[in-house]
């Protein structure tokens, strides 16, 4: 199959590659760039585990082709903080036990990274913003707590 040359920025680094048009962005990030923090859970855009940011918007990398990211800024979970450090949201997840197996966690973090807390008022707002990501371990309560704490909500414990 013919390949296409793409140029994009991934976690602040310039990347150029020849890819088949059918190559999924998730497979490009994981297998070609070795950024395996982006996880693939359903491959049909529902579970949200593969969420990354493309030009500031949270997208499902399992239903996007790598060529669609040509010329854009891609951020993955590896780009949330400098090596050895964690973002306030990552640290809040740790403090609130907002992960168990951790497989879905990068997708939650990337969804949250793309959102403005002002758009999601109250606990109901937090649950709504999380509703596009599936977690099978936590029952979500600890994730809600982690987000409320990181967003400095008054009702956070």
């Amino acid at each position: 199959m013919s390949s296409v040359e793409i140029h994009l920025t991934v976690n602040g680094e310039q990347v150029s590659a020849h890819v088949e048009p059918r190559l999924l962005l998730s497979d490009f990030l994981r297998d070609r760039l070795g950024l395996t923090g982006t996880h693939v859970g359903c491959e049909h855009g529902i579970c949200g585990a593969c969420t990354v940011m493309v030009d500031g918007a949270a997208v499902r990398s399992c239903i996007l082709f790598a060529v669609q990211a040509d010329g854009q800024q891609v951020t993955t979970v590896e780009g949330l903080a400098e090596p050895g450090l964690m973002s306030p949201m990552q640290e809040s997840f740790r403090q609130s036990h907002a992960l168990q197996c951790g497989f879905c966690t990068p997708g939650f973090l990337m969804t949250l990274e793309a959102e403005d807390p002002e758009d999601w008022p109250g606990e109901a707002g937090v649950r709504e913003v999380l509703s596009g990501n599936l977690c099978r371990c936590t029952g979500y309560q600890s994730i809600v707590k982690a987000v409320e704490a990181a967003w400095n909500r008054e009702d956070a414990e």
Binding site: R94, H97, Q100, C101, G132
Partner: protein, 801 residues
């Protein structure tokens, strides 16, 4: 416990395994990429039941990208899975179907190419000729007199058939009033967000398999048997799983085939399941019918229970056999209730559906649903409040140890206290829900309870057919005083790394940053049975305490030599080995280790070099085989809990929403309450999903109708309500540190409590909830058949909402 000086046990603490998971640096099986690695994809049966007439892979092999294409007949040297259980019929299963397929999704052939895209390109080149047979999908079809047989050499479709009779039960059934009802639990899928997968490499005569198995050593044993290899030449690594919940407790075909391919091709081979495959080829669970009869006294106390239990086992082509969750259903049915007599018959039937096996709760959610609904029916029939019936029948603390009629021995528990605490907590939540919907004629509010015990640390039989429940660890003190701990159990989200760190830090008196932990690697850790059955906190803790104690005893001997004191005068205090009475005369663990590992001339006479221990813990007093009536003590200890669900039912649409959920839980000594609460909350979410949303559906021909996440509905953050958890700690009298285990508990009460809550909310319509899932259609049907308001009758209140 040995002189722990830190007392980390019992405190709320973040987990040590979290940072790599949060930063994308953890390694799951799908992340493993080896030089020259190629990828496999499986061809699966599209029909539910057929004879395999022929499989032609020639066209696939024509593709220049294809490195291998083959069917079961091509897997030379592969053995059938073992059949150890004398009381079930053998299925004679091979890793790829050889002459017959019995469910949609059954793997029949495999293609290997440089990557998955090219492997899938070649799939149309595999031509399979199926001679279709009539399919059976339901229990009723499977036991019908003229039913087609799935296995030609069986007389019927029952893979397991345990009759039950008890003259005492018959006596009470004939002398007391009865309630009788059939309760149906529906087929579900555990659906960890990480699907299954395997990577295999064969190098220098050794096979290494990275696997998503929850039981790496048992995977190793099985791979060795199926591939005909010496077990010593096989290494299985399952360090980090993206969830399991029982679905990864089996030694699936694909793993065997990938290992065989790595040996055949002399190249690493990877296979990662996709979600559509997962929903048809990874086990399902819970499809079970329980016909309950309960004989009760005028005060509602149940004297005896009879139950006929049928499980839809799917095709049965599963190793280890999936039948045992039904035995746990039977064994746990009477729970913590003082019901002296029970007779539970168990029949597991094969059908043309995906094999059925373990899912968190392992037969207990189904049993609790049947038992807790039965109590409500007795309450209705006797006119006694169901809460009073529960309190009258629940065991009091002093009645333990209590032998259930099934043979299980409940060691201890706080059943009445937990139930009463749940009632108090739920009362406030119920009142709040009623306030929120005051004056809204379209809503009905209800509360439902489920009280149960969870048998933990159960026994396992897969390797020989005899049951056991031990586990092991290896602990080594290195020359600088750091400690290496090798645990055979994988991390699956349960926090085993934090548990290990906490227990070692407290027992050995070392700082946690000096402890290194490896998980789930059969080359590093001694044999263990894996992570399932809420067993890790009990057996791993037991083995860790034992290993620590052995190291401490030896360290005391060495310290005595170094300090020129008598060993009996040495104590471990604040991380140092000190002479009693003169605390400044002390040596560190590192100084002891230097003597043990380098300056061995400093060792006292008779003390060998080295400072390590490989220890196994085997819980006491478990039966290793059921008795002639099928009774056995199969769980080492019993946690208990009480659940309350508060639901709001929307009458016009029939939609049930769980708006609050309360759990009061007793798992004995709590090592880390943060982790226990997380286990409970996650379990509750799976219980809610199971009661209301998740349903594996087949049509009559055996075609799956729910093979993606648009049709199989996992609950999201908006479906799961706030969950209130409270603890009681009744230490297990015979377990290390008093720990009981908690992994499955949160799920067990879900269907029972929610069904009772919906029945409570809709009591004016007299609906006896007997089946799950409870769908909007079911609710509307119940309202309609009771002559309740039609959806449009609510228009004056603003219409359906």
């Amino acid at each position: 416990m040995t002189a722990g000086t830190q007392q980390l046990i019992g405190s709320h603490r973040p987990r040590r395994e979290d940072e790599p998971l949060l930063t994308g640096n953890a390694t799951f099986v799908a992340d493993i990429k080896l030089p020259r690695m190629v990828e496999a994809t499986f061809i699966r049966s599209p029909v539910a039941h057929a004879r395999l007439i022929g499989i032609d892979v020639a066209a696939a092999l024509d593709s220049p990208d294809v490195l291998f294409a083959g069917s079961g007949a091509d897997l030379t040297g592969v053995n059938a899975y073992p059949a150890h259980l004398s009381f079930i019929k053998a299925v004679n299963q091979y890793p790829l179907a050889r002459d017959r397929v019995r469910y949609v999704g059954s793997p029949v052939a495999v293609v290997v190419a440089p990557d998955r895209y090219r492997a899938e390109d070649a799939v149309p080149g595999v031509i399979v000729d199926y001679d279709e047979l009539p399919a059976i999908t339901t229990i009723a079809e499977a036991i019908a007199p003229e039913a087609p047989l799935l296995y030609d050499d069986w007389p019927d479709n029952k893979i397991l058939d345990f009759p039950a009779s008890d003259p005492e039960v018959d006596h009470w059934m004939s002398t007391l009033p009865l309630v009788k009802e059939t309760f149906s639990s529906h087929r579900q899928s555990a659906n960890p967000i990480e699907t299954r997968g395997a990577v295999a490499e064969y190098r220098n005569g050794r096979l290494t398999v990275w696997s998503t198995t929850q039981m790496p050593h048992i995977a190793r044993t099985t791979i060795a048997v199926v591939l005909g290899l010496p077990e010593s030449k096989v290494r299985v690594i399952a360090s980090n799983l993206g969830g399991g919940f029982g679905s990864k407790n089996y030694q699936y075909s694909e793993e065997m085939v990938v290992a065989w391919l790595a040996m055949r091709l002399r190249r690493p081979v990877r296979w990662i399941e996709d979600r559509a495959e997962h929903l048809i080829s990874t086990i399902h669970a819970r499809e079970q019918e329980m016909t309950m009869e309960a004989a009760y006294e005028p005060d509602g106390t149940i004297k005896a229970v009879r139950c006929d239990l049928y499980t839809n086992q799917g095709s049965g082509e599963l190793y280890i056999p999936g039948v045992t969750s039904s035995l746990v259903s039977a064994g746990s049915l009477t729970g913590a209730y003082r019901i002296s007599h029970s007779a539970v018959s168990v029949s597991c039937v094969v059908t043309n559906k995906t094999p059925s096996g373990a899912y968190r709760g392992f037969g207990q959610p189904e049993a609790v649903f049947a038992m807790e609904r039965t109590i409500e029916l007795v309450a209705r029939a006797s006119g006694v409040d169901s809460a009073d019936i529960r309190k009258n029948m629940l065991l009091r603390p002093e009645e333990h140890p209590y032998t259930m009629p099934s043979g299980g021995i409940i060691d201890s528990g706080s059943h009445i206290e937990a139930f009463e605490m749940t009632q108090r907590l739920a009362a406030g939540k119920l009142a709040a829900a009623r306030d929120r919907h005051a004056g809204d004629a379209t809503k009905r509010i209800g509360v439902g309870y489920a009280v149960y015990v969870e048998g933990t640390t159960p026994t396992y039989f897969g390797t020989t057919g005899f049951w056991t429940s031990y586990d092991s660890v290896a602990v080594s003190v290195e020359i600088d005083g750091t400690v290496s701990v090798r645990v055979p159990m994988p991390a699956i989200g349960q926090g085993v790394e934090s548990l290990t760190s906490t227990v070692i830090a407290d027992t050995l008196g070392v700082d946690e940053d000096k402890i290194d932990i490896s998980l789930g690697d059969t080359d590093l850790a001694p044999y263990g049975l894996g992570s399932w059955g809420a067993r890790g906190a009990v057996v791993t803790t037991g083995a860790l305490v034992k290993a620590s104690n052995e190291i401490i005893e030896k360290a005391k001997l060495i310290a005595a030599g170094l300090l020129e004191a008598s060993p009996v005068d040495i104590e471990l205090s604040e991380g140092k080995y000190r002479v009693k009475g003169s605390p400044d005369s002390a040596v560190s663990l590192a100084e002891v280790a230097v003597a043990a590992r380098a300056n061995t001339f400093l060792l006292p006479e008779g003390v060998d070099a080295g400072l390590e221990s490989t220890a196994a813990y085997d819980p006491p007093d478990l039966d290793h085989f059921p008795d002639s009536r099928g009774k056995m003590s199969a769980a080492a200890t019993w946690s208990n809990a009480s659940h309350a669900a508060i639901v709001v039912v929307d009458l016009p649409t029939g939609i049930v929403k769980v708006v609050d959920y309360v759990v009061v839980h007793d798992c004995g000594t709590v090592i880390n309450p943060t982790i226990v609460e997380g286990q409970i909350e996650g379990g509750v979410a799976q219980g809610i999903g199971g009661a209301l949303y998740e349903h594996v559906v087949y049509d009559q021909s055996g075609q799956p109708q729910s093979a993606n996440f648009s049709d199989y509905l996992l609950p999201s953050a908006v479906e799961i309500p706030p969950i209130t958890t409270d603890h009681i700690e009744t230490p297990a009298p015979d377990m290390p540190l008093g720990v009981k285990g908690t992994g499955e508990s949160g799920t067990i009460g879900g269907c029972g409590s929610i069904a009772n809550a919906v029945a409570d909310a809709l009591s004016e319509f007299g609906w006896n909830v007997t089946a799950t899932p409870i769908t909007p259609g079911d609710v509307r049907g119940a309202i309609d058949s009771a002559g309740g308001p039609a959806p449009w009758d609510h228009a004056e209140h603003g219409g359906p909402r």
